[in-house]
């Protein structure tokens, strides 16, 4: 069968100030295929797709839909051309139903006919194997249901070119399987599908062809059948990299932290953690797995003294004795001399001050030092220089605001500061989210170094493969409860996946 072009890009260039996000990128997608757009973070995948969906306008280059050259000036133009994008962060109105969200913004004549819309939604759902209740409100939906609504929304508008931006980032392995089945059904229906991702496993499993971007430049397209994880990585990174994460055996593990019966209820009366108990040992990495929002954040913040705890205890052990952490503020914990470091999920919104430079951010930990009410500004500068050199932070100078740095360098600043405090416990939340492969490995290496020094490392992660390769033990959370604690060396993906969706995991 002759392949029919759905969309073709020629020499697309887009600059943001000095930064060239895309340099002369050319790409072609056929009808009835799934193309993976692969690249590290900052390689320009999302920018490129945003130009197709009308959010950005290219500085140079041409876009063809079918055989005709088009100019896409707004998302509306894109929709008119049958291009629909499903963004990483959903754009839905929480208080409306699925059906209302789907027709929102459509300019159809006549009044809003609930039944007709529901029938059409139903038809689309059946065709591709979705399951959705058109009358369900968005705030009642799981992440995967919301994603379904987003997909139906673009299909309802008649899209036959679909772009999905990291669609599996928030899904469990089981939900991912379902999504893939739907995508295959759409492909067989003749739609062109582009999926942006950096998970190699998914690329190999799902797509027909893979196009790789690196640092804004188009590297090449290969057919998935001829690709391997190693060959794709080499294209992405530009050199051969070793994919294994080291995992040294824990040496002389000593109990550092015991959490018992921890229960947290938030301001709205929602129970975020119930009766969570576990121990953490020095010299090990304890992984915490779970679907996003099932209590990881509250757990770490409880330990760090940032969360009101209803019941339970968190005891910090040292050779000299033990200390109860529940009821102590973050400052009180620090003043007690408890060496607790925390790399929070929201780097710029919580761990760092985006508009301050590196030195100013180092001061977050040390501003209390200094005489006469004046804070010591010298030692943070020294520390900033040291972190910059040790972790090879790429920045024009330590005076540059951290918001102007790339994601990987921002994380190096944050991790560097927390490690420089010489912790006994190091907590990290999604430490490698959004980082490129090289920086991710740098972070894994730093965590292992801390582990070998006898630090108790808590690693909250979302990539199961990494959790299984890096951690000595894995605690699985499900809906605020401990679903189980597994040995990282013997656990399997499926085991962890099941425990994430159901307490205990057994079906």
């Amino acid at each position: 069968m002759e392949k029919e072009t759905a969309i073709r890009l020629e020499g697309i260039t887009k600059r943001f100030g000095d930064v060239v996000a895309n340099r002369s990128v050319s790409l072609e997608v056929y009808r009835g295929e799934i193309l993976s757009l692969l690249g590290e973070n900052g390689s320009g995948k999302t920018t490129l797709m945003n130009m197709i969906s009308g959010i950005y306008f290219p500085d140079q280059g041409h876009i063809f839909v079918g055989e005709k050259e088009v100019l896409i000036r707004s998302p509306k133009d894109a929709i008119d051309l049958g291009i629909g994008m499903i963004h990483q962060h959903f754009k839905l109105v929480d208080v409306l139903t699925a059906a209302e969200n789907i027709v929102l913004g459509l300019r159809e004549k006549g009044k809003f006919d609930k039944k007709a819309v529901a029938a059409r939604v139903q038809a689309i759902s059946e065709k591709y194997g979705f399951s959705i209740d058109p009358q369900k409100k968005v705030y009642d939906m799981s992440v995967s249901e919301k994603q379904t609504v987003e997909i139906i929304k673009v299909l309802y508008r008649g899209a036959d070119i679909l772009i999905l931006d990291e669609p599996t980032a928030v899904l469990t392995p089981q939900e991912t399987e379902k999504l893939f089945a739907v995508l295959r059904a759409m492909r067989d229906d003749g739609k062109a599908i582009i999926i942006i991702t950096h998970k190699l496993q998914e690329v190999l499993e799902l797509s027909d062809r893979v196009s790789v971007l690196r640092k804004g430049e188009y590297i090449g397209t290969v057919s998935t059948a001829e690709a391997t994880a190693q060959s794709l990585t080499d294209m992405m990174v530009g050199q051969a990299t070793v994919l294994n994460i080291e995992r040294p055996e824990p040496v002389n593990p000593q109990k550092r932290l015991s959490v018992a019966g921890l229960t947290v209820v938030d301001g709205n009366g929602v129970r975020k953690l119930s009766n969570v108990s576990f121990d953490v040992y020095g010299g090990e990495i304890l992984g915490i797995a779970g679907i996003s929002g099932c209590g990881q954040k509250e757990l770490l913040e409880s330990i760090a003294g940032l969360q009101n705890v209803q019941t339970g205890s968190i005891i910090y052990h040292t050779d000299e004795g033990s200390e109860e952490l529940v009821g102590k503020s973050a400052m009180a914990i620090r003043e007690k001399g408890i060496r607790l470091s925390f790399v929070p999920e929201d780097r710029l919104g919580m761990g760092l001050v985006a508009n301050m430079d590196m030195a100013g951010n180092m001061m977050l930990r040390s501003f209390k030092r200094g005489r006469f009410g004046l804070s010591d500004r010298k030692s943070p500068e020294v520390l900033a220089e040291q972190v910059k050199d040790d972790l090879e932070v790429v920045t024009p100078s330590i005076q540059t605001p951290v918001r102007r740095m790339s994601g990987g360098n921002v994380q190096k600043v944050l991790v560097g500061r927390e490690i420089a405090a010489e912790p006994k416990i190091l907590m990290t939340a999604y430490a490698v989210r959004g980082l490129d492969i090289n920086t991710s490995y740098t972070i894994y290496h730093l965590l292992n170094q801390q582990k070998e020094k006898g630090v108790a490392v808590i690693y909250v992660g979302e990539d199961l493969d990494v959790l299984l390769e890096l951690c000595d033990r894995i605690l699985v959370l499900c809906g605020g409860q401990v679903s189980g604690i597994l040995n990282g060396r013997s656990a399997t993906r499926e085991q962890v996946g099941l425990m994430m969706t159901k307490v205990g995991g057994a079906s």
Binding site: S329, R334, D346, N355, M356, S375
Partner: protein, 363 residues
């Protein structure tokens, strides 16, 4: 091709550097002056001679300079009071009221003890009372915000009217001078008046000292650092162990206390009495000054000087042109300058890309 590329597109600029950014801002002030010249021409005057007369009126003689500085002192003081609050992104638009309360507190001591205490005791007491009074008045909305998350913008704004209402009550009631019926408070005795230096109140030195204090406070102290962190992100502040509520309340005390000091300077050094217009709008104009100076205390000196020169110059022009150019034209000019400077921020951040494709196609 039936569709056209958009005529103008916007793109984020690379960092311009502080120097270039300030050059654009200064150019924007000239742009405002040129725009305003058009208005002057439209009512039949020569803009050049009007501007020359304005500058002469504001800075032409020692007396004129004294009067300009008299306008500048409370304005600069008010913008300094705003600086720490705005740095914390706490929108204190209640400086007007905090100045008024400072004035009330100072006046209480002036009226009660002006005949019994010597200046050396009375003035420091008035000064302290004004600072504490203004500080507590500023703390009130901060406590509510820290405890219950109330909106500080409305809260501080409403408190202005309460403070002014209290003065209206005092000047028509308990503190009204004899004979009654004037709705005015008597002028202070010499002991309650601040001395003049070079024809200008010594309060000017207090304000200059505050400029240096505020510069150092925001830049070098632990509290200044905490203010900056809370302003940027409360979540980060909590993460760093900063007690956010306490910082908000403390900072608003400092902000209110400085406003209170301004109230003291106005009643004791400029008006020698208290009236309901003690703040006279500087609490609001001070916001303009603080904003235009990007919350930099040194910058505030220049911006408040600029606005004072405009105000004084405009009143001179009003006399010269026999009311053809009203005094309120200084407000119009200030408005234009503000408008142009705000517009310039846009050009500092973005650059425009004009349609080019048509030309390429023609080649």
């Amino acid at each position: 091709m039936n569709r056209k590329e958009p005529l103008i597109r916007l793109a984020k600029r690379d960092d311009l550097g502080t120097m270039n950014a300030w050059i654009i801002r200064i150019v924007s002030i000239f742009a405002a002056l040129i725009l305003f010249a058009g208005l002057i021409v439209s009512v039949g005057y020569n803009p050049v001679s009007v501007y020359v007369a304005m500058i002469g009126g504001a800075l032409g003689s020692p007396l004129n300079i004294q009067q300009t500085i008299k306008i500048m002192i409370p304005l600069l003081g008010a913008s300094l009071a705003i600086a720490p609050a705005f740095k914390m992104k706490f929108w204190n638009i209640g400086v007007e009221g905090q100045i008024t309360v400072g004035g009330i507190c100072a006046t209480y001591f002036a009226l009660t003890f002006q005949n019994s205490w010597p200046s050396g005791v009375l003035l420091p007491v008035m000064c302290l009372a004004a600072a504490i009074g203004g500080g507590l008045w500023g703390m009130l909305p901060a406590v509510f915000r820290a405890k219950w998350g109330t909106n500080e913008t409305l809260f501080t704004l409403m408190l202005n009217y309460i403070a002014i209402g209290v003065v209206k009550y005092l000047q028509g009631g308990p503190w009204e001078k004899v004979p009654k019926g004037t709705q005015m408070i008597e002028r202070f005795a010499q002991t309650a008046r601040m001395p003049n230096v070079w024809g200008v109140t010594a309060g000017g030195f207090i304000v200059l000292a505050l400029v240096i204090f505020m510069y150092c406070y925001l830049r070098f102290t632990k509290q200044g650092y905490q203010i900056a962190v809370v302003g940027e992100s409360e979540a980060t502040a909590r993460y760093a162990g900063i007690n956010v509520g306490r910082v908000i309340v403390r900072t608003m005390f400092v902000s209110g206390a400085i406003a209170g000091l301004v109230g003291f300077i106005v009643v004791s050094g400029i008006n020698y009495t208290l009236s309901d217009s003690v703040a006279g709008g500087v609490g609001f104009t001070g916001i303009t000054v603080a904003w235009l100076a990007q919350l930099n205390p040194i910058g505030m000196v220049f911006i408040s000087m600029l606005l004072a020169v405009l105000t004084k110059g405009a009143s001179t022009i009003n006399t010269l042109t026999h009311n053809a150019l009203p005094e309120s034209m200084s407000d119009m000019l200030t408005g234009l300058i503000l408008f142009c400077m705000l517009a310039s921020e846009f050009f500092i951040r973005y650059r425009m890309i004009f349609r080019t494709r048509q030309k390429e196609a023609a080649k």
